[in-house]
């Protein structure tokens, strides 16, 4: 897994170094949306039977917050990028 982490980080550094400053804000909100990938963990955490467990409730809260992050992040990035026009 450490392997994956190192490769992922390296790839990230390589890719982002080339992003023009014009796109820094969309890049940030777009990558922000990607960090909402925690949704995957949140869904798995909610997959517990019975409402009596703390695990289940925390998982459900996590789903809500991660989903705000994901959907809001992508939507707002799209809204911004739509505005960038060339003459």
């Amino acid at each position: 897994m450490l392997y994956v982490l190192v490769l992922g980080s390296y790839l990230g550094f390589e890719l982002i170094n080339k992003v023009p400053p014009t796109l820094h804000t969309p890049l940030m909100s777009g990558s922000n949306a990607i960090s909402g990938i925690t949704i995957v963990g949140a869904i798995l955490a909610t997959n517990e039977l019975g409402y009596t467990t703390l695990s289940k409730w925390l998982g459900m809260l996590a789903v809500i917050f991660a989903m705000i992050n994901v959907v809001g992040g992508y939507a707002v990035t799209d809204r911004m990028l739509k505005m960038f026009k060339k003459k």
Partner: protein, 462 residues
Amino acid sequence: MNIYIQLAYLIASVLFIIGIKKMNKTSEARNGNLISSVGMLIAILATVVQVEAISLIDIFICMIIGSAIGLYTAYKVEMTQMPEMVAVFNGFGGLASVFVSISDYWLKSQEHVINIDIITVISIMLSVFIGGITFTGSMIAWGKLSGKVNGNAIIFKGQHPLNLVLFIVSVVLSVLAVIYQADYIYIIILTVVSFILGVLVVIPIGGADMPVVISLLNSYSGMAACTTGFVLNNNVLIVAGALVGASGIILTNIMCKAMNRSLVSVLLGGFGATNTSGGAAGGSDIVVKEVGVEEAAMLFDSASSVIVVPGYGMAVAQAQHIIKELMEQCEKRNIDFRFAIHPVAGRMPGHMNVLLAESNVPYDKLIEMDDINDDFANTDIVFVVGANDVVNPAARTNPQSPIYGMPILNADKARTVIVSKRSMGKGYAGVENELFGYPNCLMLFGDAKQTITKVVGELKES
């Protein structure tokens, strides 16, 4: 785990990478965002098929609530509020990581009462720690940016030692949690400590340093997702988290370079607040020349090239739309009209570009600092709107100045400089801007939106 699910996660990771790669070109960026969101959809679907049918309803309800809130805010937010918005979303990502990790810990240690391996416990604690700091740190950043919390640097005695103590406490708590797994008190205290630490690390940073903070918190939210990936043994979380973590770090680095400050000095904070005595002694000894609206309009009318230098003040005054009109008037007269964008103008990376894009200024008119700096010398008018420190020549000439060495836009080299400014207030760094006293500099006092509206009105009549 099912091979198809693994494959779906792999595809999602690849789509994230392609999506970010497409962000390199403005014309393809929107597709890139779409591709990355498809990756997210695949990752979510691949996860949903793994859950028990009976939990599906709960999950869907939560997802719908989250999506609705996300969509609503995304479409309602004003472009000028974008920095706050990014901060809030960041914080929610961090909070989700905290919840997922505690949930997983609780399930294993309290519900199933099984032994958790050391790596997982450490990952859980790290994820809670980073996620917690991301959450409260982002909330404070949001408060500062939206004016709900004092936006200036807040510093108090013993702040740094306190942070250090809290950090050590966190490490100790993590070690204790590894040893006494069944005792949940440690993870609870760690959560609280990380929340406090998040507040403490962001309050001493203010104003123009915010772009650094926002990028750094962005990076943290990625790292939090990454550590959650280690908790759950899930590669897609690690890859996506690492991508975001790296992107945040790079942006942070770019912002620091553009201010000629080290990350450490930004994080220690208090810039400006501690420097008030270091600047010019007391009142201003700079004599400025004022210019009226009519005269300014005449200057624009007779110019052949104009460069606008926007700053945070433009965002505050919401002047981006009227500047677009000014641009139209000038282009009607065949005046070369461009914008010079300093990397840290505004409150987050690329802030000015988004605002001007909103008012339909084509992005090829927005020129980066290094590409335009040599052009100032043969430009007729430089129009500085709500920017201050980024055009202060002291950064080049005065080694005593706190901003000495910071790369600036050479606005002072132009034939005429017009500065739209509300008053003679100082910039974030708290230093006098000697540009305002230069013989070629004219001050256009007043609210940027109102004064520029009048200038445009004059130009329309003539």
